[in-house]
């Protein structure tokens, strides 16, 4: 079992050839997406020691750190269990309606961030506090684990699992000893995205009346207008993020590298037997809570809110604007992720890996810090583009780069070993190898990356308000305008439209990430 090899290292010749342009591009991208860290550093340096002492000397700081840590731990664990469990049921068992379940399980991604917390609270006040936050965040974030794990399971060679079973191991032993280790990189990657997101998240927790370390950062921005103190506190989140990234680097790498299924056959699915009903019931419960609650709340306000008006023409304009920006952000972030992932994949050096990991850190920053960083750099170094459309696209790309990177990385991991050298040895030029061999092979991954970024960017609010061209309205800003005036009925159509628009990317995502049936997948 231990002889499964990692993707073959390209030959020294290829490495040497690639030494020029690719690293340059990769480092340029990492420098750009990590620029918010520089901003945080610059701002924090403006705060004195006294300020630092006062900020960190408060007993509340320890409580908040504890809240953030315990919440991140619980939610990451819960999403890992749910994400893996759901992926296993869908990909490795004879569960009825597998295809349908795949889509339904991914759909909670389509629920806008700010609708999540709001919809739960409007339904019941009992979701407030720690357990409420765990519940709501788990329901919203488990697809980040489910999708990559399901993708790995679908593509992975099932021979190992079959051998395990033929040697007399029961289905549970096989699940624990063979299937789980197989998905470890995907599981670790998904868990990293979940935990980093939780560090910097503020809005949903505020709604759930649960204070985390990010709450303290927001108080500094909101009531103190004090970016220096806020940055000082943000450094703590960066340190935590560093810890998580290192943790993922060790656990994720120990996993066995997945061999792509070449024989083009599926393992005989594990028979659920009397477990069929409990399995169906738990998946139904999961989808009903994760998707049902937000949809119900939106429906309620659409029907009952007295400020509900017929959708005006502005809905259409806002929808088109949202689509345009989301698509642009998806393209830019995905294109930027390619050199970074490719560089780290080809050159498995410590430097390359470090660069790749550094790109994940900004994910832990609160949205307002990232947005102000873009303001800071754009107005100094790209003044003509300030508050122009490219600035908002850049903001989205920086915010969601880690999502794109994860998807592209996962796709590259599936590329058969040595394929680039074979092409090179046949006399194909490096650029042609990239364009005709490598990129087409990772294309499903690129699609998944683009869909993921488009999906999240289309519902983004904080950075949108700060970075949009003056006068530009997206669905999220319209929603914000009405809810901050308490006109939930008028706001609901915008949120509903966001959900509806998110469905195609989710469908694309499930198709791209998971691919078609392995049979058609491997006979190109």
């Amino acid at each position: 079992m231990s002889t499964l090899r990692s993707p073959g290292r390209p030959s020294p010749l290829l490495r040497w050839r690639a030494a020029g342009l690719l690293p340059a591009a990769a480092f340029a991208v990492v420098a750009a997406v990590a620029s918010p860290l520089v901003f945080v550093g610059v701002q924090a340096a403006q705060a004195g020691w006294d300020q630092a002492h006062r900020l960190f000397g408060r007993p509340l700081v320890a409580t908040l750190l504890w809240n953030t840590a315990t919440l991140a731990l619980a939610v990451t664990f819960a999403t890992a269990v749910l994400g893996f469990g759901a992926a296993y049921l869908v990909e490795r068992t004879g569960l009825p309606g597998r295809r349908w379940w795949t889509v339904a399980l991914a759909l909670p991604l389509a629920v806008p961030e700010f609708v999540r917390g709001y919809s739960w609270v409007s339904l019941t006040g009992s979701v407030r506090g720690y357990w409420g936050a765990v519940l709501v965040m788990t329901c919203s974030l488990y697809p980040l684990v489910f999708l990559p794990v399901a993708a790995t399971l679908r593509r992975a060679d099932t021979a190992a699992e079959e051998v395990s079973r033929s040697l007399g191991r029961g289905p549970f032993a096989t699940l624990w000893r063979v299937t789980l280790p197989l998905t470890r990189p995907a599981l670790a990657g998904g868990a990293l995205l979940v935990s980093l997101y939780l560090l910097g998240e503020y809005g949903a927790f505020a709604m759930l009346r649960f204070t985390t370390f990010a709450t303290a950062i927001f108080s500094q921005y909101k009531l103190g207008f004090d970016a220096a103190s806020a940055a000082l506190l943000t450094l703590v989140l960066v340190a935590l993020a560093l810890l998580l990234v290192l943790l993922e680097a060790t656990t994720g790498r120990r996993g066995r590298t997945v061999r792509r299924a070449t024989a083009g056959r599926r393992a005989t699915p594990a028979r659920l037997g009397r477990w069929t009903l409990p399995a169906l019931a738990s998946l139904t419960a999961l989808v009903a809570t994760a998707l049902g609650v937000p949809v119900y709340a939106l429906g309620y306000w659409l029907v009952r809110g007295s400020s509900t008006t017929l959708p005006q023409a502005s809905v259409l304009t806002a929808a088109l604007t949202t689509l345009g920006y989301a698509a642009a952000a998806a393209l830019v972030a995905t294109a930027a992720a390619v050199p970074v992932a490719l560089y780290a994949w080809r050159r498995d050096s410590r430097l390359a890996r470090a660069a790749e990991r550094a790109a994940y850190l900004p994910r832990a920053l609160p949205g307002i810090a990232v947005a102000l960083a873009v303001v800071y750099f754009a107005i100094r170094y790209a003044q003509p583009l300030y508050q122009q459309p490219p600035m908002l696209v850049a903001g989205y790309a920086v915010l969601y780069f880690p999502l794109a990177l994860t998807a592209v990385r996962a796709a590259l991991a599936q590329v058969p070993p040595g394929v680039e050298e074979v092409a090179r040895s046949l006399g194909t030029r490096p650029v042609a190898v990239l364009a005709r061999i490598t990129l087409p092979l990772v294309l499903p991954g690129l699609g998944a990356a683009a869909a993921m970024v488009a999906l999240t960017a289309s519902t983004e609010l904080t950075a949108t308000l700060l970075l949009r061209p003056t006068g530009t309205e997206t669905l999220a800003t319209r929603f914000w305008t009405y809810t901050s005036g308490l006109a939930y009925g008028a706001a609901a159509p915008y949120a509903a439209l966001m959900v509806v628009l998110s469905v195609p990317p989710v469908l694309l995502l499930t198709r791209r990430t998971l691919g078609a049936d392995p049979r058609t997948e491997t006979t190109r």
Partner: protein, 356 residues
């Protein structure tokens, strides 16, 4: 292979098309970089533009901007957002800021920018239009409208039948578990600042400690209002207009909350001002002054008085909504100089652990 390339190509094309659309609909740029037309009357400013960063109720400011454009021919580039985020943005933008006017919800945001030297003086004629105490003592911003702190109570509950006459009472043990507050709101800090001014820092600290023991904390006044309406808590301190907006949304049948005012002279009977300021580094100083002069004029004040934002106009002679109790029956307008930049209040809120 080609088949799988197609969605990506389609995506690129869609993007290009949509961005083209967006760019056309977006900002029209600043065509009047020069300050050649420096005449002081409005007519010569026609065709200029003024960029307004506004943290105020968006629907109302939009109506104001449209009316201003019609009257002067000056184009308003309106940037609506959260007042605190906009203030932070202006701080980061510094001298390069494209903003000409900042229209805030509460004085602390304006005072912070004033302290950092980012505001320019408002024209004296504009300042004269509103009572002197409603504008910055350094005359860097002018008061435009007012709101009052009030007590929202769940209908029929004890908090409604026997509402507190003083905001000080809310720290008493009898309110334990019945109260809600939104200490993170920019509207709440002025009440704390006022408490510090009237009762002293120690008393204010004790009061906050009492509130902390008694109250559930909410993220925003919107959440708090909804919680009171649902009976999740018996009552809470909010700005008066949240009640009216809530009532409009819920319709009379579903609104289960009532508004009570604190006794006149109480620190809770606080009348707070929303103001606007010209920015020192603005590129359209004349147009900015024209916009401020308009905001403090009778026509603009009438727009504010009749809008769904339910705020009080400040210009004498312009009447507020008839359903609102007259401002002078509620309380004294807090001297804005006393409200400061909110730093003292923030420190106290953090010290007592009400705020992170």
């Amino acid at each position: 292979m080609l088949r799988s390339l197609r969605p990506f190509t389609a995506l690129s094309l869609t993007t290009a098309c949509l961005l083209g659309l967006t760019a056309c609909g977006g900002s029209s740029g600043s065509e009047d970089g020069s300050n050649a037309s420096s005449a002081s009357n409005g007519t010569s400013l026609k065709g200029q533009s003024v960029t307004v960063y506004s943290g105020q109720h968006e629907q109302t400011v939009k109506a104001l901007a449209a009316d201003f454009e019609k009257r002067t021919g000056i184009k308003v580039e309106l940037r609506s957002g959260d007042e605190a985020e906009l203030a932070n943005q202006i701080l980061q933008e510094g001298a390069a800021s494209p903003a000409d006017v900042f229209y805030a919800e509460n004085p602390p945001a304006l005072t912070t920018l004033e302290e950092k030297g980012l505001l320019a003086p408002v024209k004296p004629e504009t300042l004269k239009a509103v009572p002197a105490q409603d504008s910055s003592p350094k005359s860097d911003w002018v008061g435009i409208s007012a709101r009052t702190a009030a007590f929202l109570a769940a209908e029929g509950k004890h908090a409604d039948t026997a509402p507190p006459s003083s905001v000080r009472d809310l720290a008493k043990p009898e309110w334990k578990g019945r109260l809600g507050i939104a200490p993170g709101e920019t509207d709440f800090a002025p009440v704390v600042t006022r408490m510090i001014k009237t009762d002293g820092e120690d008393a204010a600290r004790k009061w906050l400690e009492g509130l902390k023991a008694n109250a559930k904390t909410y993220d925003s006044n919107e959440d708090l209002s909804a919680a009171v309406n649902k009976g999740e808590v018996e009552g809470g301190v909010i700005d008066h207009y949240y009640f009216y907006r809530l009532r409009d949304e819920q319709t009379a049948a579903k609104a289960h909350a009532k508004l009570h005012y604190f006794a006149k002279g109480d620190p809770g009977a606080l009348v707070d001002v929303s103001g606007a300021a010209p920015l020192k580094h603005g590129k359209h100083a004349q147009a900015a002054q024209a916009f401020l002069a308009y905001l403090a004029s009778a026509p603009a004040q009438k727009v504010i008085a009749t809008s769904e934002s339910y705020e009080y106009p400040l210009v004498p002679g312009v009447k507020g909504k008839s359903e609102l109790p007259a401002l002078d029956t509620i309380g004294t307008v807090a001297n804005v100089a006393d409200l400061g930049d909110g730093k003292e209040a923030l420190k106290l809120l953090q010290d007592t652990g009400l705020l992170a």
